[in-house]
Symmetry: C2
Subunit: 251 residues, 2 copies
Amino acid sequence: MTKSNTSPRLFIDDDLAQGSTVSLDPAHAHYLGHVMRLQTGDGVRLFNGHDGEWLAIIEKMKKAGCLVSINEQLRSQENEAGPWLAFAPVKKTQTGFIVEKATELGASRLCPVITRRTNSARVNVDRFRARAIEASEQCGRLSVPDINAPEALEKFVAAWPSGRRLLLLDETGGGQPIAKALEGLRRPGGGLSSDCGFLSGPEGGFEDGELDALRKLDFVTAVGLGRRVLRAETAVLSALACWQAIIGEAE
Amino acid sequence: MTKSNTSPRLFIDDDLAQGSTVSLDPAHAHYLGHVMRLQTGDGVRLFNGHDGEWLAIIEKMKKAGCLVSINEQLRSQENEAGPWLAFAPVKKTQTGFIVEKATELGASRLCPVITRRTNSARVNVDRFRARAIEASEQCGRLSVPDINAPEALEKFVAAWPSGRRLLLLDETGGGQPIAKALEGLRRPGGGLSSDCGFLSGPEGGFEDGELDALRKLDFVTAVGLGRRVLRAETAVLSALACWQAIIGEAE
């Protein structure tokens, strides 16, 4: 029986088109067969970031893989414009959390940034990508955020597209309130621009010299998140939640 | 040497007044002496929820406790009005996370609510309180959120003060956008009212009958957090972050 609303939802790399057949890898086969206990004839939802979401039917289930036929398009691909999130990796649990929650809240690109107080050994792009895929499958996105290779802060800002506003999460209290900064992203013709990014520092914050240099860049706006001292992962999540409520809903 | 900005910050139950002496319990003594390596003459910041924040000087440091003299008031007590957060406990890690982040984001009261799909064995009020104290110490609050005993959903709504708006985090998509709902909390004379609450459901959501009953209550407003399916802890944190940005900053 195929239950399209409750069927497992998987991100794959293959193209998806009516009537084609796709071979799922052993990890997906294990998940569908042994964790979800699906059998031949059962349904699974597939998306790949560009062909929308499809209901596929399991044709053959083996240890080495699983063959599915692409049956019916459930959703067409949508433009999932979202903010970019640049962040200094923190402890492993909290960094995984940032990747998961940023995905749920609609970030379109994740950029690990190495600051002077960042332990760069904590960056594992493959693990970030696996976590982002899992969160995308769960939250109903049709795309997975792009994940950049880690870059030093100086290189990162040098490569930043100058037309995209970068909201610096400034824990020193000098920034403008985030709601006001987001409202300020209105396009000249009305509507809000989703082409922005957030930059969040490491535990212990940016060094003073880093903050000074960032504030001088004309694409940077320093923003504040209230009077309390937020942990790095709380600050990131708060900023993205505000983006979603003030800009994402209005798209 | 006393460094008031970087000294450890602890919540205690005792009164705090200039010149008085306070005996800290063995757990605090262990933390200050063995974890932070403080000695006689070093400073520690103390708050109790009603006397502001004080610099205290360590007079005696022993295993059984630590004697401090209350030296100088660093901050006077402020009114930390914040929203109430009612939530169905989810998995242990995520529930701890909700308690921590809600404290950082300014919730003034946490109400564990048992819904039909909630595993009530997951509620440990003492552990919630310890986590909330730790987060309050870290984020610079002058108060710790009150934590209610767990209540069944029906009892909880029956006891809800009818003058306080309850924003229901409604994952079914029928609610109004949260930014709009929060803007709607303006007082007749201008300004926004912080006297509101949020109610968040368990994994798997509220049952349809629960949702129907909640929506019929005249103090309830159903709100949505966007198109994606947010995990329970993400929804809670998003709602509180929006409250902070739209109402908390304006207080």
